[in-house]
């Protein structure tokens, strides 16, 4: 028994039967990035190398892909993971995943204490 069924949806103005993948918004032959869980974690971290690590159990039996952004001291500005530099007082957030956890380590190498909020999206898809 095969499972040779599926579906596709084109962008407005394109014939779904003939248009290429670039003009489709859904094609069941192509994977969509699926967001399994989202949430936030936060902590206040001391200066000069203070750190904290969050281990978030995801429940998959594979290392999932993930996206993380972080905000410092309620600025309203959200930086993509792994950003670092003087403009955020050398705080860094370098997450990684394995078959059990999404791990979010945060290190404050700056000169001031900072409250860091991390927003994460764990994907129901394996990481690259």
């Amino acid at each position: 028994m095969t499972f040779d069924y599926g579906g596709k949806i084109s962008k407005a103005g394109y014939d779904v039967k003939s248009t290429g993948i670039e003009n489709q918004i859904f094609n069941s032959e192509k994977n969509c990035i699926k967001i399994a869980f989202t949430g936030t974690v936060s902590d206040t971290i001391s200066s000069g190398g203070g750190s904290t690590t969050f281990n978030l159990e995801h429940g998959f039996d594979f290392a999932p892909g993930f996206l993380v952004w972080f905000e410092i001291d309620g600025s309203g500005e959200w930086f993509f993971m792994n950003t670092q530099g003087s403009f955020i007082d050398y705080v860094n957030c370098n997450p990684y995943s394995d078959e059990t956890y999404l791990t979010i380590p945060i290190i404050n190498n700056g000169t001031s204490e900072h409250t860091v909020v991390c927003y994460y999206a764990i994907l129901a898809d394996e990481g690259a």
Binding site: F3, D4, G6, G7, F26, S28, E29, K30, N31, C32, I33, K34, I35, A36, T38, T40, F60, F62, P64, L67, W69, G76, E77, W78, F79, F80, N82, T83, Q84, G85, S86, F87, Y119, A121, A124, D125, E126
Partner: protein, 307 residues
């Protein structure tokens, strides 16, 4: 009445009724990334070294930005390769530099910005006696001063030489900064200076650089900065004048004369070798920007909300 409806598609070869999440291409159980906007462009020096892209969603959206490497420093993956910020080249022995590109979003905009050092080349002294000179103090490796000493009754004029400045004669230097690390200081009032270049194609190790012809371009400046700071002096016109000389060739030596310009009282700044020992990026260096187009960027803003 519950609204427990939905749909899912499995990958080819998997039974949609039993497939695991990663065996599905779509499931209404999971949100997907929904694209609001995509675009691309060039970040330029004259454009303020940043781009601001309005999304006007009223909340902070998911986003990703990719950029090409720092053309002033390294071409990791080639000049057309894109990477996700931050892009931070690391060179063994280099002092700290802000060479990353970073992106962030707020309720209104996506911002893509360049670190302060992105795009610049840095040239250090040769850390030789002949790279530092003082009008009234002779030559000494790493010793440089500028200001006034009322006790001795003399101007403290300094000179500094960069033995290998890699700028093509045809280049149009967009920005050049002479960086002087202030290792120590006398007084707290302004040290006033007038900075010239040595008007020479390829100046040799210093004998008495103050006897050399000076460039017509000069930079009148001053600083009240304290020890541990880096005094940044704009020398763009001076550098362009030197590389426009008939005999200039890339990798020639270039030197600058920093004259006291009316400093009063016992005020001076001092550089010593201990603070100027980096071969890739010495604390005192010549920082040159040769390009206006600094990097290409691409971005995607999603409807998904960071909350």
């Amino acid at each position: 009445m519950s609204l427990d409806y939905g749909g899912k598609f499995s990958k080819p070869g998997y039974d949609v009724k039993t497939a695991d999440p990663n065996e599905l291409v779509f499931s209404s159980k999971y949100k997907t990334l929904r694209v609001k906007a995509q675009g691309n462009g060039i970040i330029t020096q004259t454009g303020g070294r940043q781009v601001v892209i309005a999304h006007n969603l009223g909340y902070v959206p998911y986003f990703v930005a990719h950029v090409t490497p720092d053309i002033g420093f390294a071409l990791v993956g080639g000049s057309s390769a894109y990477s996700i910020p931050p892009y931070v080249p690391v060179v063994t022995g280099a002092c700290h530099m802000e060479r990353q590109v970073y992106a962030y979003a707020d309720d209104i905009n996506l911002y893509i910005k360049l670190g302060d050092d992105f795009g610049y080349n840095f040239y250090s002294t040769g850390l030789e006696n002949g790279d530092y000179a003082n009008q009234n103090g002779g030559l000494a490796n790493g010793l440089f001063w500028c200001g006034y000493d009322p006790g001795l009754g003399w101007n403290e004029d300094g000179a500094i030489r960069f033995p290998q400045v890699i700028i093509d004669k045809s280049a149009n230097v967009i920005s050049a900064q002479l960086k002087i690390y202030i290792g120590s200081r006398d007084g707290g009032d302004e040290v006033k200076a007038d900075v010239y270049g040595c008007d020479t194609d390829n100046i040799g190790s210093f004998g008495n650089p103050f006897s050399e012809s000076k460039t017509s371009a000069h930079s009148t400046t001053g600083t009240t900065q304290g020890a541990g700071s880096i005094w940044s002096i704009t020398v763009t016109d001076i550098v362009n004048e030197i590389i426009n000389r008939g005999g200039w060739t890339s990798a020639n030596a270039m030197a600058f004369l920093v004259y006291n310009n009316g400093t009063t009282g016992d005020n001076g700044v001092f550089l010593t070798t201990a603070q100027d020992n980096g071969v890739y990026c010495s604390n005192s260096c010549l920082q040159v920007l040769k390009y206006n187009n600094l990097c290409n960027y691409k971005y995607t803003i999603y409807y998904n909300k960071i909350e």
